[in-house]
Symmetry: C2
Subunit: 540 residues, 2 copies
């Protein structure tokens, strides 16, 4: 018997309380549509009426026909100075256009008294009235029992009576919140079971925070004890240490319980890695590479022992097949790399090598040497590919261009002005010397502009290529003189209509490091297209 | 009754399998000494004999007298082609100088057959001989039963017999490894209990990986079921999704079980945040801000509702007091900030404001406007402090210098050369125009050098200040023209002998953004010292 667990996503509300997240209404809309696509059941959009971003979101999302998800509005029980039907926030929820709502209320006497200055009986009345009011206006109402587990440990009878009041007023799910994230899995299991015993007809949900790194375990423990709704966020974003990470909970429930639980509609799990990446991108936060299931490193193998075993049989060091969640295996090239790593990587690029060929040893030595200088080949696979190609291809990788000189000039007048960037570039392209100059929005952009200007006549397809992201990292703090004189590594991610690639540059000079990564990126684009064309014509 | 749990740290071995970690022998030494200081029991240094870094580490660490920790050497059971006492790796462990060792062996038939091409009986023999050999040479030997949980689920009897063989050969701890990280807490609890029942005299350990985001929960479940040793890493670093995070396990066991478990020596828990930061710094990996207990965001409050409540009573939204683990509470200034955030922040700087004062509203508007442009005030508290001070202080923050002009020139000849950086800076310092020029290792360093040259005669204490780190982030990808033309944010962390501070600059031009952060950093240093001097003389 498979049990369906309802997924309630709060990335747009609790998730946006993350220190490093600020979402616009347009961002929220994009994320909501993506969550609908993968088959999330409920999407909490925000607090209607609390701020212009959330007002705009609820207004805008009403124009879309969602395929699967239902939008939920968030708020609290009514303010003690109002009645439920005169409370501006509850009215805003009722009028938001959302068909369901979650409202939080106090289930802990101490919190009611200290945060709201309410006595215990009045708090229960407020819970009942608020739920009943919304239940009269919307299809479903969920009661988020804030600080439930702490409250329960302090006074179980009172915490239960808060739930009972919400239940009697018509709440569709009683959501037990571990607001401060300090509860342990065995406590969650026990308390959820006790709540279900005390309120047999009630549906229970779980809302966990990750302050003890246990939010996923707590959510799963709640489901095992009978909870039917899980509240969480994509990538586990959220205030402080974040919310329960749906990207870990969903595959664990679907893949690790022998079919006992289902979360997403059939066949959607493969979208998980893409959804996680999309949300990071829209929210403009760096993805966490070690993130379970969907992280860039989740199926990355570096140790020599592991790599040989993985080459023989993947499941030896992988708990699931990466493609089940839309991720992929990666074999890393690093300073510790063994020859089997090189062989694996070369195979991906179409070269079948033997571990004992001298060229493998030579490549390993060269990679190790550059890696020890700071070239992050684990991140910049396109740069590794170029390095291997330059070494392996008998005919050599075609040298599309060669730098003869560049000059970058930045001038800023007075403390308020923006500096002006002027760049000149001289390159040799197929025996012709091209000398161009350009301005730009900053020195790297000016360099990019000047280089493209020099090359575009020869290679018009460069116009499709875009730089998507770049990252700078100071490598060697105090050791090389330190401070602003430290070595920096620049990673540039570029893309065109059908792929993305990352290249690397290292120098104590940020302009030089950017130039290296930029030059590699352009070369990679030209190589890639030529290779595709050649492969295409071979096929005909 | 308090039960002591032994902490076995493998940051230097399994942790260094992280995609983004490469440790030198000097790095390993630094980390080992720090782990000893906080009171970790066992420190796994690496594989003696497998690579020059680990050889150097074992040689070097032998010269130190550790206060608490014992160094452990890692390796595998002997190779099938050797006997235990002729196996070069086991001999290297015996001769490494380490007093204890962990060796891993197969406890799953399938793995023995597929990874080592060994039959089941020969594998048991190898385990027994390897443990017995090392037991004759060292004080303690731990047997890491690789893939134990997967093996147990496949064939419990065989997995048990692998443990029994190691136990009979004298292994001091039988470490159950969830090598692929796919096991769930309820499975760990059951299997650990069954193992303890089958081998009543044996001490059991747990080695968990985080592939389901459950490594902390699994380690705790094992301890609750009777395990006495936990293997993990600082910050949860490690291959793929990482190892069990000791920074979450230690405080959870010590603080959340009513004194049932102790891990660190009395009074050391407060060092935890500092140790986590130190390891990140030495390993040169960006700290994960949402990391439980020790992360920068772990006690950071952003939501308006939370902030007012936290101002009233911290425990309302904090599961522990941050200082117990050496962390601190932070009230964030962001686009969503309420006036209570401003009041809290100003109070920290010694200004007692009322929420309703017009200056608070004005500050909020200004902060929101700049935050919407990309100024990350949550990260760059020193820049917020300057902004508030400039607004609040009646006398104004003294303007230590004013930029009149800078020029940055980068020249690179041919593709192999490094560019040369030349900078000229003209500033007004206390009515005097200073015009200086400098070269540097890159444009930011040259700017830094030229600015210091201009100011040092006026403010000699600038010589103490160092730039510790800088970060660059592309903010607005496709939206503002994108690519190399995107807006970038630069965060600079600076320090002197008694503090560290972070400042921010935002521009589409990386040089300009760096300049803003640099100028704020220098101003902050000068302001801070002046403030301290004034406070000092007030006190006399």
């Amino acid at each position: 018997m498979t049990r369906r667990i309802q997924l309630y996503d709060t990335t747009l509300r609790d998730g946006s309380q993350s220190e490093d997240i600020n979402l616009t209404a347009a961002d929220k809309l994009k994320i909501a549509l993506k969550l609908d696509e993968i088959g999330i059941d409920r999407i909490e959009g925000g607090w209607p009426g609390s701020n212009p971003v959330d007002v705009a979101f609820f207004k805008e999302i009403a124009n879309y026909h969602l395929k699967h998800a239902v939008i939920s509005a968030f708020g609290s029980t009514h303010h003690p100075n109002f009645t439920a039907d005169s409370d501006p926030n509850l009215r805003a929820i009722a009028e938001s256009g959302a068909r369901v709502a979650s409202i939080f209320g106090k289930s802990c006497e101490v919190h009611a008294a200290e945060a709201l200055r309410l006595d215990a009986a009045r708090n229960l009345e407020i819970i009942g009235d608020s739920v009943a009011f919304l239940k009269g206006k919307l299809a479903e109402v969920y009661f988020d029992a804030e600080h439930f587990f702490d409250g329960y440990k302090h006074n179980a009878a009172y915490a239960q009576s808060a739930l009972r009041r919400a239940h009697e007023a018509g709440a569709d799910v009683l959501v037990l919140c571990d607001t401060n994230g300090g509860t342990l899995p065995h406590e969650v299991a026990r308390i959820v079971a006790e709540v279900r015993e005390a309120l047999p007809g009630a549906a229970v949900g779980i809302h966990a925070h990750n302050d003890c790194e246990l939010a996923v375990a707590n959510s799963i423990a709640a489901v095992q004890a009978g909870a039917v709704q899980i509240q969480g966020t994509i990538n586990g974003v959220g205030e402080r240490c974040g919310n329960a990470n749906l990207c870990s909970i969903i595959p664990t429930l679907e893949l690790k319980f022998g079919g006992e639980y289902a979360c997403l509609p059939e066949g959607r799990l493969q979208q998980l890695t893409a959804v996680a990446a999309y949300v990071s991108e829209v929210a403009n936060i760096p993805p966490f590479s070690r993130q379970p299931y969907v992280g860039r490193s989740a199926f990355a193998h570096k140790g020599g022992v592991h790599v040989s075993a993985v080459n023989r049989k993947s499941s030896l060091y992988e708990h699931i097949s990466p493609d089940v969640v839309g991720n992929r295996q990666r074999i890393l090239i690093t300073e510790l790399a063994g020859r089997s790593n090189i062989v694996s990587l070369a195979r991906r690029f179409g070269f079948h090598l033997d571990k004992d060929e001298p060229v493998v040893k030579g490549l390993l030595t060269e990679l190790k040497k550059k890696a020890s200088l700071g070239y992050d080949y684990a991140a910049a696979e396109a740069s590794v590919e170029l390095l291997i190609l330059r070494k392996l291809a008998r005919r050599g990788v075609r040298e599309f261009f060669r730098l003869l000189q560049f000059r970058v000039l930045e001038t800023k007048h007075d403390s308020e002005g923006e500096p002006v960037s002027e760049v000149s570039v001289m390159v040799d392209v197929e025996g012709v010397t091209e000398h161009t100059a350009a301005t730009g929005r900053g020195p790297v952009n000016a360099l990019d502009n000047a280089l493209r200007k020099a090359l575009l006549g020869f290679y018009p397809r460069l116009s499709e290529m875009r730089l998507l992201d770049f990252k700078v990292r100071v490598l060697t703090g105090a050791e090389t003189g330190g401070g602003t004189a430290s070595t920096v590594r620049v990673l540039i991610e570029s893309g065109d209509s059908d792929s993305r690639w990352v290249t690397v540059g290292v120098s104590f000079n940020i302009i030089e490091a950017s130039w290296q990564a930029l030059a590699d990126s352009v070369t990679y684009k030209l190589y890639k297209d030529e290779h595709a064309r050649r492969a295409g014509s071979d096929g005909e």
